[in-house]
């Protein structure tokens, strides 16, 4: 069994969750070694939600997420190498070192980003869905957002548009109980977030986001309704992040260590492991899977370290579409100091 394409089974899900856990634990370590910079938001503790929801997607469904996206990217099948290289800012990263932790993507797998502004990805998800409808394609969009995103205006506008236009989007609200350090009840006048859906005559449900089967069943059924009937929905999945908001946040100023310890007792990876053992798997089999994942993540780090930094003489590449260089050629006279070398001669419009 390979880590890249595990079978649809509890063992496969365990493997995918464990990959996310080990990957992010290693990312945290690499961050502290200064091999990773910027913001780095970990989803440790939320793996069942990542694996269960993405596992319920069809191969040609589309995915957009916020910035806590390593788990979703890995669950969607991005290689640990391409994600780790992206975190390292290297040329072999999935965004070629241009995006970093928050801006993972893989259009070939229908993953249209990793977005860094809370709620900004929601209108974009409606646009992806609008395009699917225009083309008559029976696909759906899974749009992940955090509990903090429900209070920004884009949330309201996007849900209204999705419902008004019958767009095939499932808005998956990852309620990990804190938007940064602000508890849900301190931010939302209606802390039962799924009830917001009623205002748009949209399906709204709440599930235990740490229960693999519950997540898979709910997301699968809502995606099917979106695909078949063009019915958007909002699914609130309750979970908990064991780490702080980002690697820079110890995560203890707004919650107690006891609280974290209490939630860790329901660690979805431990639960899956117990279930596997109860189903007759033996320790050696699971340990072999763990070892393979450790090796895979180790290899991802080696890959990232070996990958080149993006070339300086391509600094401006991608900023504009290929063919744009000619449009910009006449802008060069009188440019600010260094602009010629940094931009005009560094891939602008290529």
């Amino acid at each position: 069994m390979s880590v890249a394409a595990p079978e649809q089974s509890l063992l496969g899900d365990y493997q995918r969750m464990q990959l996310i856990r080990v990957f992010e634990t290693e990312a945290e370590r690499q961050y502290k070694l200064a091999n990773i910079g910027g913001y780095c938001h970990l989803s440790i503790g939320q793996e069942a939600l990542c694996v269960g929801s993405v596992g319920a997607m069809a191969d040609d469904d589309l995915l957009v997420t916020g910035y806590r996206c390593h788990g979703f990217a890995l669950a969607r099948g991005l290689s640990p190498e391409s994600v780790m290289a992206e975190l390292f800012g290297r040329v072999d990263g999935c965004a070629h070192g241009r995006g970093g932790s928050m801006h993972l993507l893989d259009p070939d797998r229908g993953y249209y980003g990793g977005w860094g502004i809370v709620g900004g990805q929601l209108p974009i998800a409606t646009g992806l869905a609008l395009s699917l409808v225009r083309r008559g394609e029976k696909k759906a969009v899974l749009c992940e957002l955090g509990d903090g995103a429900v209070n920004i205006g884009a949330f309201h506008e996007a849900l209204n548009l999705a419902a008004l236009w019958d767009l095939p989007v499932v808005f998956l609200v990852v309620n990990n109980r804190y938007g940064m350090g602000t508890a849900v009840h301190r931010a939302s006048a209606e802390p039962e977030l799924f009830r917001r859906a009623q205002a748009y005559r949209m399906i709204g449900e709440r599930i235990n986001g740490d229960d693999l089967d519950e997540v898979g069943d709910a997301v699968g059924s809502l995606l099917a309704q979106a695909r078949e009937d063009g019915r958007p929905s909002m699914l609130e999945a309750i979970t908990y992040r064991y780490r702080g908001h980002s690697v820079a946040d110890p995560g203890t100023s707004y919650r107690t260590k006891d609280e974290i310890a209490r939630y860790r007792e329901g660690d979805p990876i431990l639960v899956a492991r117990e279930r596997l053992l109860a189903d007759g798997a033996d320790e050696a089999e699971i340990s072999a899977v763990d070892a393979e994942i450790d090796a895979r993540v180790g290899a991802a780090v080696e890959f990232a370290l070996a990958s080149s930094e993006p070339p300086l003489d391509r600094l401006a590449a991608g900023t504009y579409a290929p063919g744009s260089a000619e449009q910009f050629a006449r802008m060069r006279p009188g440019s600010p100091f260094g602009e010629a070398e940094l931009v005009f001669e560094a891939g602008l419009g290529t």
Binding site: P123, L161, S324, P333
Partner: protein, 343 residues
């Protein structure tokens, strides 16, 4: 690159039709809707209402509700929907009723649409158009009389064009729709009724990044775009009659990319330059022009670069105050005479 023609379109006199800017824009939309299935329009009142300023009049009837899509008052929502659709290869043309309302969608324009190409390593693109009028002069007061052209044109990842004639309105909008990047087309309310010749050609596309020599002269260059170009041309005629000077007028047409080459060539000839814009000059389009001109044309200049823009106040309602605050022809003429040492 080959030397582009800088003469006015239709100058040859054959194969042109007279129409106003509004009609020229409508033709561009209709032709591109006809040409490319991926093109669709979206915005407030673009369909049933026939467009707040009637640019899209009749298009819903002709192309249907799917391709001319009315939206609720949700600029951030539907600009973002345009971004998402563009990422899948559609060619959305999003109308914002006026530039002032684009402020509530700034996050989608600046922090999403403009970032996609670079931030995702060139793996996806965002070929969308946002078209919207700006402009003051109808006593619309502070919240509805603004020109933020420079804000948008300062953002890498966006392209910004702003036509002054019917021919350019049509040709630049078509170029924007065919472009693979997000393009903001800044139109102008008072200009919608301006008439001019438009080439009778469905392939009339004006290249992005190419300024237009709107009037030839030898004594002073006025650099402008959009409605300021029209004012500048009037001033040029007025000062020819009153002072016998010949003013050259460069119509930028594109703000990003900015055709400094054409501006610099003109300044090298006239040695004097006045930059005019509808917006506030501080940190504005004319500030950018002045910085680039002094660097590109340092040895050519016989007088300090001068600028005229909107008076730096929120635009007042009272007609006399509004008129005084605008970059009106009297103010442009006075500035021109000063640069010409004729004041």
């Amino acid at each position: 690159m080959s030397t582009p023609s800088l003469t006015a379109p239709g100058a040859s006199g054959s194969g042109v039709r007279e129409m106003n800017v509004r009609e020229a824009l409508r033709e561009a939309l209709a032709e591109e809707l006809e040409r490319d299935e991926r093109v669709f329009l979206m915005g407030e009142e673009v369909g049933v209402f026939d467009g707040s300023y009637k640019v899209s009049a009749g298009l819903m009837e002709r192309f249907g509700e799917e391709r001319v899509r009315d939206t609720p008052i949700s600029e951030e929502g539907f600009v973002g929907a345009g971004v998402g659709a563009a990422m899948l290869g559609e060619r959305p043309v999003v109308e914002i009723m006026t530039l002032n309302f684009l402020l509530v969608a700034m996050d989608q324009v600046i922090n999403h649409a403009a970032k996609i190409g670079a931030m995702f390593g060139g793996e996806v693109r965002c070929p969308m158009v946002i078209r919207t009028p700006n402009g003051a002069g109808n006593q619309l007061t502070a919240q509805h009389s603004q020109s933020f052209d420079g804000w948008f044109a300062s953002t890498p990842g966006l392209k910004v064009v702003s036509p002054a004639t019917p021919a350019d309105a049509k040709g630049l909008l078509k170029a924007a729709i065919r472009d693979d990047d997000p393009v903001l087309v800044i139109e102008n309310l008072p200009l919608y009724k301006e008439k001019g010749p438009v080439p009778d050609d469905a392939e009339h596309v004006v290249p992005i990044g190419l300024a237009r020599l709107a009037r030839e002269g030898r004594d002073l260059t006025i650099v402008a775009h959009s409605f300021a170009t029209v004012r500048a041309l009037h001033v040029a005629e007025r000062l020819r009659e009153s002072h016998g000077v010949e003013i050259e007028v460069v119509d930028l047409r594109s703000l990003r990319p900015l055709d400094v080459e054409t501006v610099a060539a003109s300044v090298a000839k006239t040695n004097r330059v006045l930059c005019v814009e509808e917006g506030w000059p501080t940190y504005g389009v004319t500030a950018e022009l002045a910085a680039r001109i002094q660097r590109a044309c340092f040895d050519d200049l016989d007088a300090p670069i001068e600028r005229v823009g909107m008076a730096e106040v929120p635009l007042p309602y009272a007609k006399n105050l509004e008129t005084a605050a605008l970059p009106n022809e009297d103010r442009i003429a006075a500035a021109a005479l000063q640069v010409l040492d004729l004041a």
